[in-house]
Amino acid sequence: MKCFIGIDLGSTTTKAVLMDGNQHILGRGITNSRSNYDTASRVAKQEAVVDTRMTLCRRGLAGAAGLEDGLDDFLGELERSFRLEQFLDQLGDLEATCKTQITGDRFAGVEKEVDAALVAIFDELRDTAPALFAPGAKRKSDFFRDIAGAHYLQVAEKVAKEAGLPYELLLNVYDKSIIDVENRPPSEDLTGKFVDALVRVLAATSGDGRDAGDIEQRVKDALAIELEETFVVGTGYGRVTLPFSKEHIRSEILCHGLGAHMMYPKTRTVLDIGGQDTKGIQVDASGIVENFQMNDRCAAGCGRYLGYIADEMNMGLHELGPMAMKSTRSVRINSTCTVFAGAELRDRLALGENREDILAGLHRAIILRAMSIISRSGGITDQFTFTGGVAKNEAAVRELKKLVQENYGDVTINIDPDSIYTGALGAATFAHRAVEDGAAREGVQA
């Protein structure tokens, strides 16, 4: 099967979208952007491939005996089981890496004890891993670093105490290892992991009236479909680090414009609030960018600003929007300058304003700034699409809707649940077009 892949190497997250020759999205992948963009793009791409395999499994399992009503549940189990396999694989890598760090003066005389402590820690991490991927399990993050890190630190404290070792020693081993593990390209053996995952799921669900042999065959058929990487296009701030030639690279402004067009063909104005910049983009009926404006010189009011505010308030980034939604009255925050906003925030807190109302004011300040950038790019024309990670923030969306209504009246506002993938979708579409246009040119020449 011919595949077209778009990779958006953003400052915070790296996203990938995989589409087929009919421009149907088969899979999406996301990872946190690390210092090593190369690895981030490979991980995101692999995640998109995993998602694609799930799509193909869904197609393959349609109509399988015993799954008529339970297909979604079964696929959910399969994916969780696969994630567990993946997690265990990386955990093994982390353990092996940790063991290589037990050298030098700090460990003199306690090498054996530290080694034994590591075995104890990783045994427990492996034992508790299935619970992390059980149905309904809540995780703060889906990234290995976050999940493994939190648990390691927790278990290490206990193990250190029991073994009479300094906790810092075990911490040090982990700190030195996690970066290596994170920056190592993931193992490419997806099929093996899927098969192992499937065996586990089938064993756990035997006797449900399912034809295990048939299901296994259908999944294996889905896994056997060759995914031919026909053309890859990269975008985002890390795009220059991709080992691609120039024709494989597009600016994220064009990718967000085209991606938004693919999601909503009637879009004429696009707002993208990314980690580093905010863009107001005007596109024509074919998704071609007609004009754009970006924030200048500082990232005031960008996604990073929210990250900063979250840090200031000692909260998770994803908790900001929901908390702001609880606001009952508006507090005016004038500044989108990150540092000034921090000052205003402290000032308001000191004056006794509640956090919900202050956060609502901060969200409004960001959107006010975005409105200025949009107006500089030519204003809002029906339909209007909001893309980027901040589009998932309901408080930002609420303020945006209010301000768009006040300034431009009734225009359709599109926000896709997969808005974070808009840039990668645009890139994948460019990849598809590159091949299509090439074929068209060859056709003309012939």
Binding site: S251, E252, I288
Partner: protein
């Protein structure tokens, strides 16, 4: 104005004109910095609407603080000067030409040759398109306590020079400017000497226009923005009216003609530019502290600037203006009134839209300058209007003149690449609809 970027990493053969300009500029700075020993007197003035021919009539040397700031920018010294100025109390938002100049004075006022520039004997402001310039000269007057001539140039608000405006300026020249210059220099004004200089100016101006308009060729043999900044150096600065300028522009013209004949593109700091992929019109001054990196972002992509408004701040010769020896004072008045920055927005829009058409450009790019309200005001409006009239895409980037803190390479490159790709898309869709039709 010698605006040579840092020495090229790879040695590129220098054209005769480049070597000549280098010698001319070195000589000029040598004359200025040895003024004390030679007894020469100096006049500080500005580039837009400067009266070099008149200054020469009084044996005064022309010193241009703006050019000194540009030189400091290119030589990576302006950042220090700007901060020195801020220490002295000038706000972050003030024109960085001013701050670089003020900071440079505080640090010994060294010319590019490493010697101190002399205190001016007279300050002459002949241009008021930018009110900051008036404040700048008030600061210099405070510093040097020397006579200051403020030649008021009416803004071309209605888009034309009226007889009244011209008479008003000639009156000032006769009653204020010339008598003060006579007094400062001790030299009697001789109008025939002025006529002689103006005649020479016009000759050099003819060749400059020929060079600038050579960009109508495909490929363009010159870059009319980055390269153009070299070309306008002598004529916008201290050489208009001299034999040196005539020689320089004649040599340059011959070189450019040879490039056209050979079908060659522009010369860049890295040698000849590759194939011409994009033809752009640029509005606004460049960034000087990252001049070479900025230019590289263009030529690496095969983008050549075929016309720019910045190369008209010291005179719009390509629209027909020439210094006229038969009407010397009127001609000086028309010159001051007509420079690009003294023109109103409709005139600027018309000029840029015409350039897009005449030079068969792919579109307009605006470089908006953070610390220059005068140049930047109305630029978004200009952009929209030029887009509307030409149907060609436009884009907006933001940098600063000589403050290195306001040049964000990642941001600028991102916008430029997006713009070039936008041009590609536009072309592809135009071709597609052409095929469909």
């Amino acid at each position: 104005m010698s605006t040579k970027p840092q020495a090229a990493q790879t040695e590129v053969a220098k054209d005769d004109s480049m070597l000549k300009q280098k010698t001319m500029m070195a000589g000029h700075y040598e004359r200025l910095t040895s003024a004390k020993e030679t007894g020469a007197k100096t006049c500080s003035t500005f580039v837009p609407g400067n009266l070099n021919e008149l200054i020469m009539c009084f044996d005064l040397l022309n010193n241009l603080p703006e050019v000194n700031a540009i030189q400091a920018g290119l030589r990576k010294k302006s950042g220090l000067y700007v901060m020195e100025s801020e220490k002295l109390g000038h706000s972050e938002d003030v024109c960085t030409y001013v701050k670089s100049d003020i900071g440079m004075m505080a640090k010994g006022n060294l010319a590019p040759n490493g010697k101190a520039l002399p205190d001016p004997d007279v300050l002459m402001l002949s241009y008021t398109g930018c009110f900051t310039f008036m404040k700048w000269f008030e600061l210099l007057r405070e510093q040097y306590k020397c006579p200051t001539i403020m030649l008021h140039t009416p803004y071309e608000g209605d888009g034309k020079i009226t007889a009244n405006m011209r008479d008003y300026m000639v009156k000032q020249l006769k009653e204020e400017v010339i008598p003060t210059l006579e007094e400062v220099s001790g030299v009697k004004f001789d109008i025939d000497r002025l006529r002689e200089y103006l005649k020479k100016s016009a000759l050099a101006e003819d060749d400059l226009v020929h060079v600038l308009q050579s960009a109508k060729n495909k490929p363009s043999p010159i870059d009319a923005y980055f390269g153009g900044i070299y070309y306008i150096g002598p004529i916008f600065g201290a050489f208009r009216g001299t034999d040196d300028a005539i020689d320089y522009y004649r040599t340059l013209r011959e070189e450019v003609d040879a490039r056209v004949a050979a079908g060659a593109g522009p010369v860049t700091p890295d040698g000849d530019m590759g194939p011409e992929k994009y033809r752009l019109i640029v509005e606004g001054p460049p960034n000087y502290t990252s001049f070479r990196d900025f230019w590289k972002m263009f030529y690496d992509e095969g983008a050549v600037v075929v016309a720019s408004s910045y190369t008209k701040v010291g005179g719009v010769y390509d629209l027909g203006f020439r210094h006229d020896p038969d009407n010397p004072l009127e001609s000086l008045a028309d010159y001051c009134l007509g420079v690009y920055t003294n023109r109103n927005l409709p005139q600027r829009v018309e000029m840029l839209a015409d350039y897009v058409e005449e030079y068969e450009a792919d579109g307009l790019l605006i470089n908006s300058i953070k610390s220059c309200n005068s140049f930047s005001a109305g630029q978004l409006l200009i952009m929209r209007e030029v887009e509307r009239r030409t149907g060609k895409p436009a884009a907006f980037i933001e940098t600063d003149l000589v403050d290195p803190r306001y040049f964000s390479p990642a941001n600028v490159k991102n916008r430029l690449e997006s713009y070039f790709q936008m041009v590609d898309q536009k072309r592809a869709s135009a071709t597609a609809s052409g095929v469909a039709a």
